[in-house]
Structures are given as structure tokens and as C-alpha cells.
Amino acid sequence: MDEKLEKDIIRLLERGDERGMKLLFQLYYKALCVYCMRYLLSYEDAEDIVQNVFVSFWEKKQGQVFVGSLQAYLYGAVTKAALKNMRDRGKRFFSEFELQIENSWEKIGQESEEQREKLRIYLWGAVDRLPTNPQKVLKEVILNNKSYKLIAEEMGVSVSTVKTHYARALRHLRKTVDPEMFRLWLLCVILPQK
């Protein structure tokens, strides 16, 4: 689908042409950030990691012959960097189980921006239908990246309660949102955008 574009980018980068970098960025940056959030805790880390991967890609590969798929190379490098980030921060992460989750969603396709927007509305709509407290917890964690402790203080409940609300809310969502929607979502977010 983007094979021709990939070839053009590779040609530019082999010549050390900086325009190749801009194209590469436009093609993969957003998709890579979205993708590596699955391994990370903070949105800022995701952008940092992807940017560093791009920088070191330029450092290592510009002016050289590149063989293979840029897409595969970048996804591999970002995955490695994200897992390293979690390790460096001392976070326990069960890669073996996480990778199984990924495998069940391996299929790749592409949806339009319009379709994506529809899915987003559907998803946040489902979140809005959750009971008040679990909903509040979920939104604070996902939208504002707040810690359980801070949320507990703000809501005047215990940290355990916040944790239970969070896990329960996620599970409840999974049960109510159409599984098909999950599949579709995946198809569109993971992919590079035109």
C-alpha cells in the first residue's frame, strides 16, 4: 500500500537527503506513538521514545544502503526501546502474556479517518455510560495520566477502592463494547496514516 512511498523514502535517505526524514516522519510517527503506548505508562514517554528511534535511525542509516521494510524496522526498534524504558524504570511487565494479546490482533488493514472518528465516538460513549465512580477513575487515569493515589485523595476514598474501580471499569467496558469494534479499532490505529 505504501510500498512506493517507502521506496522513495529509502532512496532519499540513502542519498542523505533530509526530505526523506520528513516523509518518514509523516508516514509513521503518529502510528508508532499510538502503537507503543501499549507498552508504556506515560504519553510523553511514547513521543520521546519514537523521536529517539527516528534520530538514531537517521544517525545509523543515512547515506547507506537500506535493505528491507522501513515499517518493520521502525516497529521493531520502537518495541525494543519501549520495553527497555519499562525495565529501566523498574516496572514489572509481563512481556510473555502481553505479546499473546498482540498476536490475537495481528491482522492489518486500513480504515478512513471518518471510520476512525466513528469508532472513537462509540468508544467514549461506552465510557460515559459507566457508573459514576468507576467512570471518573477511568477518565482520570486514561485522560489525565493521574496516579491512583492522587485520585483517591481527590475523591476521598481509599487507594484500594480506586484500583478496584479501575480494573472493574475496564473489564465492564470489554464486556459491553462489541468485540467486533475492538477488532476494527485495532485495524485502524496501528496502521500508518496517509
Partner: protein, 399 residues
Amino acid sequence: MENIYRLLAAYCAGSLSEEEAAALRKRIETEPEVHQLFDEIRQTEILLKEARMQERMSEERAWSVFQAKWKLVVRRKHRRIRYYAWGSVAAVAVILWCISFLGFPREEVLPIAQQSADIQPGCLRATLLLADGEQIPLGAASAAPVMTSAGTVIANDSLLGLQYQQGNGQMMNEEVPYHTIVVPKGGEYHFTLSDGSRIWLNSASELRFPTRFTGAIREIYVQGEIFCEVAEDKKHPFIVHVGERAIRVLGTAFNVSAYPDEQQLVTTLIRGAVEFSYEGGCVSLEPGDQTILDAAGQIHRQKVDVSLYTSWVKGIFEFDEMPLEEIVRQLARWYDVQFCFEAEEFRSHPFTGFASRDQTLEKVLAMIEKTTDVKFDISGRNVNVKRTEDGANISRPDY
């Protein structure tokens, strides 16, 4: 069941302890329903985070941040190439020089020989001083982790510099060693403190800091000029000590310039909030505010264009109606040269301009020469500030 929800929620936030992680892993492996619960919860969480990530990203903003990082690398590469180029110019000059004794006129050789002696800009370099006096050179070329004599390993990144870590062994009573980073004239350096705060050190500057922050406050000691992006932690205030003065940081980014030869302490706040305390009291700053504490102990506060005071972080010299005397002090530090004013009247001559710190000194000076009748004479590492021979009296005081 409640317990498993709490464990899973802690896993999602990355806050499981080692024992809890082992217990959870065991249950996922042995109890299919727990495994299923894990999958469902993580699937949903990933989905929501991906959706959120997509919404909050701005490609233009990301591109400009990325470009800044990337240009550092590109610039470094070019610099290396330029050295090779100068190397070959010098070689040609030597050959021509030899030939000149064989009868070629020497004057033709001179321009090339002079060019090869152009004064190069500063670069990423510094020295790390450990508590026991050991010295470790730091620079763009070294990305290897730094191992101290005490056996501690500090991660190092060719782009981001040293990365101190808070570590796990938080024994409160344990004495934490202090490190000092010394940046010479003609150098600059940036790195990350153990709390995640980012520090940029300008030429001829020094910073002393603990390898880990343990007490109730985070404190660092500075001389010269630094730009800080302090990691937010309301429970542990961040204090920058400059001699007897202290800057209490309540929020994120600010610049402090306290060079002995400037005889003033300038604090500029970009984002967040800081409180500057000195012998005479305490002043709170809002973004865009600047305080200047002069040699007489008087404090002045003004609104400024912050980019003028922070552009050095991005590799730019930016001057706005700045007296030449102040400009050359900055150039002296970055190019490791000395200026001498033969034409005294230019000391206070204001100059406005914008130049990349990546150029040779000759290029930057040529820019200044174009706008006034000033003439810079370089010999070795000394620069004499003169008036052009046919210059009109634009800024000579009336007698």
C-alpha cells in the same frame, strides 16, 4: 476476587512490588480465569490509551520538537565533516607554503593559511568530578556508561548526556555522594538528574548535585549559566543555590545566569513559578518575568522576551539591543577567546542580531562588522575591538 482486581490495577500502573508481581504471574499461569481477566483488562486499557494518544498528539508540534533533537545530530555530523575539510585546506596550505620557497609569491598562500586557522565554535564537552576527586571527561563522542570508582554505573546517552537514576536502594540514612560537572570555556553540556529534571550547562559553568535526591528538598549548586526543566514533585521542592542566594522552584523551566564577570545574577522564568530569595528579601516570578540582582545588592524586576535568554539552549545567539561589551563576553566563553577594546566607545554600542552558535567566530564577528564601523582584529586567541579606518563617528561621544 477484589484482591485480583487490585493486583491487576497495580500492574497496569507499573506499581507492583517484586513479590506481588511473582504472585500475579503465578496466578495468570495457573488459573485460566485470571489469565482471561488479565487479557480483557489489558486489551481495554491498551485500546483506551491508544485512542487517547491519537487524540492528544499534534504532528506539527512533534515535528518541531523532533527537528531540534535531530538537528543536534546533523550539526555534529557536519562539524566533523568540516574538520576534515579544514584538515585538507591546511594540508594544501602546507604544500603551497613549501612551494612558495621555490619561487611562488607568498602573498597568494596567506588567505588559505589564515582560513585554516579560523576559530571553531564550542562543542558538547565537560568534566565529571566525583566526590573522591576522580575526573571523567564527558562529550558527544562518548555514549558508554560512566563507571565511578565507587562502582556506581551512570547511564550515558550520546544525545541526552548522563542519566542519573533514583535507584531502588532508598536508605534514608545512607550518605549520598555529590558529583560536580564542570563545563570549560568553549564547551556546553546537558544531562538528566536522578529525579528526571533536565539541565543544560552553558560554557564556563559548574553544577554540584547529589547523585540521588533523598531528603525532603532537592538542592543543587550552580556557578555560571544553567537552564533547568525541573521534574514536577510538589512534595520535594527544588532549590537552586547560587552563592548565598537561593531560587526555590515551584514549577518547570527557567534560566539562571550568574557569571562572576557579569557581576549580576539574572533569573528568567519560562514556565511555572519560582521564588528568588536573597539578602534583601524574596521575589516571586511569573512566566516571562526576569529578576536581576546587581553587584550593589539591588533587585530589578522586568518582563522580557524569554527567548533572548534561552536561545543558547537551542544553539543560537540572540541579541536585542545588547551592548557589544555583553555580547563579546558571551562570545569569549563560547569560542574561548579574549576581547580587548581598543575603541572604548563600542563597549556600550547596542547590537541586535541572531546567529547560529555553530559557526566560526570569524563569521559571527563579520555579521557585527557589517552593521557598524567596528572592526575585529584576531590574533591567536585575542580579539582587538577597533574602529574601521574610514569609519564615520557614529557612536563616538561628543566632546
